[in-house]
């Protein structure tokens, strides 16, 4: 059953290529594949929540180190989030890619499917080697998506993207993996950790550091630069991959390493993770501060992501049950919140051709649904009720207290305030700000200063935008459905966080 989670997206990719002549059939294939994948993951979820650990061996590249999949609660959580959001994102992409008149759409859907297959591989990896393989595959398969626009800026961004992700993973992560193997003789994920009792002294913090920095997708500073660079990608890519799948693959890997390679008891007792807690804390604060300075909406969201990812890393480094539970839940909660924000950013771009925060004045009155959804997403990211985000913040706070790190609680508070400030500015401006046309006169839909280097979306304005002449035309219906779905999910998760909580307490029962 597990191997289906890899096979279905790959088969879907083949279907996408075969149906390339007919966009409708091609998109239908994408949707069907996404639906099928989610169904499979639900089956896996059912098996795992009854205590099962389905597993399968795919190949054995190195004697004793198979390429193997094994479903465990943490992986199931990640797979659930990613596969569900893939359905939503596919709907969204259909609206966005057509509304934005993007080229090479078949290639786009093709690599999207490959990327999801890699994400499933990361989620269900049965050992460190498998995790590493799919982690690298994910970097490779998302590269064509990042450089989709084909402009010089996209190419430069692509170079930063691959350079940092490959560089850190080869130089640090692979070293850590081989080192782990040299110490323990195994790479399998085991409850309680494989290093527990086998390693001691200065090796442990160093090794942990190699993992945390080596997993560049977790975007812990100073290896975060790839994330804002990747924002040149089309918005659906930014939404699913660089707010959810890719970055979550990173923090998920960190969490998984902490839980199944080191073991949280061992990590807590050895104190090896304390220095990394503060690295994560620094990333949280600095990321928020940088987000403040960004006027480009997607760049601001990107730095917000950098900051939020470190919450998950922080939770893992706290090395106690509350921390791990909060960390795992934050993977899910942040995913729903951030994808909503990116969807909204994309809708604004398609409908009004606006990409800078300063241009959004008054737009909320014309796009009320989008800006309302943005408001809900903001609440969830900040961690306010009635949204799911409040739960993960709650548990992370508890975890910090239990670890005796009052300073970290302060960090959580400050960063919440910061994110409230830099995100809330957008819906406020949208609903209460002055419309730009009134301020700037005739500029209309022509290129605003600073708009030139944002996303390479100039010259692709649809014909109908001429009629609109500087005013918005509606966000595509498909995209609106997606936005409403994820925003509603943010609210629903406040009332029903239970499935995620249960999975996480299977990983680290309090």
């Amino acid at each position: 059953m597990l191997w289906l989670s890899l096979a279905v997206p790959v088969v879907g990719a083949a279907a996408i290529v075969l149906l390339r002549q007919s966009p409708n059939a091609r998109e239908a294939a994408s949707l069907v594949t996404a639906g099928a994948l989610f169904t499979i993951v639900l089956q896996v979820y059912a098996a795992v929540s009854e205590g099962g650990r389905p597993s399968v061996v795919l190949a054995e590249p190195i004697p004793g180190i198979p390429l193997a999949l094994e479903a465990e609660p943490l992986g199931v959580l990640f797979a659930l989030v990613a596969s569900f959001l893939w359905i939503v994102t596919t709907m969204y992409s259909i609206g966005y890619m057509r509304g934005h008149h993007e080229k090479n759409q078949t290639r786009f859907y093709l690599f999207f499917a490959f990327a999801i297959a890699s994400v499933m591989g990361v989620a269900f990896a049965g050992n460190l080697f498998t995790l590493f393989v799919f982690y690298e595959l994910l970097s490779l398969t998302t590269f064509p998506l990042v450089t989709h626009a084909g402009t010089d800026k996209a190419k430069r961004a692509g170079r930063v993207y691959l350079g940092i992700l490959f560089g850190t993973s080869i130089a640090f992560q692979l070293l850590a993996i081989v080192w782990t193997y040299a110490i323990t003789g195994t790479l399998d994920f085991q409850d309680g950790g494989i290093l527990n009792g086998r390693a001691a002294g200065a090796v442990v913090p160093v090794l942990l550091g190699l993992y945390v920095f080596g997993i560049g997708k977790a975007a812990v500073m100073p290896f975060h630069r790839w994330l804002p660079a990747a924002m040149v990608a089309p918005t659906p890519v930014s939404a699913l991959l660089h707010a959810v799948a890719v970055v979550k693959a990173g923090v998920f890997a960190v969490l998984k390493v902490a839980v199944y390679v080191f073991g949280i008891d061992f990590l807590g007792a050895s104190g090896a993770s304390v220095w990394l807690m503060w690295v994560a804390a620094a990333t949280i604060i600095l990321g928020s501060l940088v987000a403040f300075t960004k006027d480009n909406l997607k760049a601001r969201l990107a730095y917000s992501t950098v900051s939020q990812l470190s919450y998950v890393v922080l939770g893992a480094m706290l090395a106690n049950s509350w921390g791990v539970i909060g960390s795992g839940m934050h993977i899910a909660m942040h995913a729903f919140g951030k994808i909503t924000l990116f969807f909204c950013a994309g809708a604004i771009m398609v409908a009004a051709h606006k990409s800078e925060v300063s241009q959004l004045g008054g737009l909320g009155r014309k796009m009320p649904v989008t800006f309302a959804a943005f408001f809900i997403g903001t609440l969830s990211i900040v961690g306010l009720p009635p949204t799911g985000g409040s739960w993960s913040k709650w548990f992370l706070g508890l975890g910090s207290l239990e670890a005796g790190q009052v300073g970290l609680v302060a960090v959580l508070m400050v960063s919440s305030l910061l994110s409230l400030a830099y995100l809330m500015e957008i819906p406020l401006k949208g609903f209460f700000g002055k419309a730009e046309a009134e301020v700037g006169g005739h500029e209309g839909h022509m290129h605003q200063p600073g708009g030139h280097d944002d996303d390479g979306d100039h010259g692709r304005h649809g014909e109908d935008s001429h009629d609109a002449h500087g005013h918005y035309h509606r966000a595509p219906a498909w995209s609106l459905v997606a936005i409403v779905t994820t925003a509603a999910a943010c609210l629903a998760l406040f009332l029903y966080p239970e499935p995620f909580y249960r999975l996480m307490s299977m990983v680290a029962g309090p």
Binding site: P61, L67, K155, I170, A171, F172, L174, L175
Partner: protein, 495 residues
Amino acid sequence: MSVHLPVLQVVVPLLAAPLCAFLRNARAAAIVAVLASWTALAIALSLLGDVMSAGVISYAIGDWAPPIGIEYRVDIVNAWVLVIVATIASAVAPYMITSVEDEVERRRIPLFYAAYLLCLCGLLGIAITGDVFNVFVFLEISSLSAYALIAMGTRRRALTAAFRYLIMGSVGATFIVIGIGLLYVMTGSLNMADLAVLLPEVWDSRTVKVAYGFLGVGFCLKLALFPLHLWLPNAYAFAPSSVTAFMASTATKVAVYMLLRFFLTIFGAPFSFGVMALDRVLLPLALVAIVSMSLVAIFQVDVKRLLAYSSVAQIGYMILGLSFASVTGLTATLLHLFNHALMKGALFMALGCVVYRIGSVHIDAMAGLGRRMPFTMAAFVVGGLSLVGVPLTVGFVSKWFLILGALERGWWPVAVIVLLTSVLALVYVWRVVEAAYFRPYEGDEGDEGAGEAPWSLLAPTWVLVGANLYFGMNAVRTAQVAERAAEVLMTGVGP
């Protein structure tokens, strides 16, 4: 018949060579060369199978009993090397048919194949023989034919490159024969197994140590260990494409084999590592080779030269494995012999396809080729990823054992250097990928010359690309063979 397999391994290409020369017909000669190469592979595989199941095979040439007569002695180590050489030959030989017609003057083609078969014969001979003087004989056969092959490159600079290689190669060969002579003086024997028994008695003599030094320098020249690599980049860059693919994947590998055979089997691991401190001599040289040559490769604009410098760096990895003086390290070395042959073979063959179509491998000339030659460039990308050491390619398997070996010794800075240089490899591979995929084609759009290469070139290339992937995903067998071979080398002569 199967008793005579060891000698047939050498005799088949040896006899096929004059046959090619007499045929005087390009196509007929090509067919002979292909058949001879495939036969060699069949023999090598069957020898490896025999050795794996039944142990060492000893074959006395002309029934003269060793140590007086020449003995062919096949154990798991040289059976492995035979398979490597024959595999590459079998893939490159069919590739030559089209490539050589394009690059070599028509009347010289039968002679080209004769030289190629002699070179193959020499390389197989070095690997299979159990007699040290015989090693020298085959070394000369392979080297002389290699000089001729390189000189047949299209550009006139091929002649200077070949001449330079001739000088350096001859110096190397001379050093080796001096070393062999000194060994003979001390022991009165030329048989490897016999020498291994006799040498420990005279370990202390200065003559043996001097012999060791001469042999060491000679081998390092032949295998192009930094700083004795200067002949290699030009030789590879100016040789005909198929010759580069063949030489890069086999010649240096066989030289590494000679080094292992002499220093570990004949002198023995205790002497090499205990008395001569071979590990401490080779470690810094290997590291400097890896780092400096990877850096130099980054700044090359001729992609063939780029890969040639990368080869020097990769040889550094092989020697690095040896310098760990452990079974894991040697496993890495032996695996990398095979794996590097597969990746460089695939890469140089992909470049050969480019040369066939656009006549140049300058990095600017390759701009935009990703669209015009999709299969060729895809082969290059897979080969390049393998060179970097991305998982599921053979390159990863070698790196894995290499890093494991370093960590076993507790040399984690070495492990870090290996990983960082993989990143350097990524940089130089990426430069080519970027040119091919992200820069527009610069030639005339309607230019027919820039289509995809013919399948007669692509098929052999993709066989090697497929091998890169297959043995990267399923390395259990290769790793087993390499590990057993490493044990044989570390423990000295087998039964």
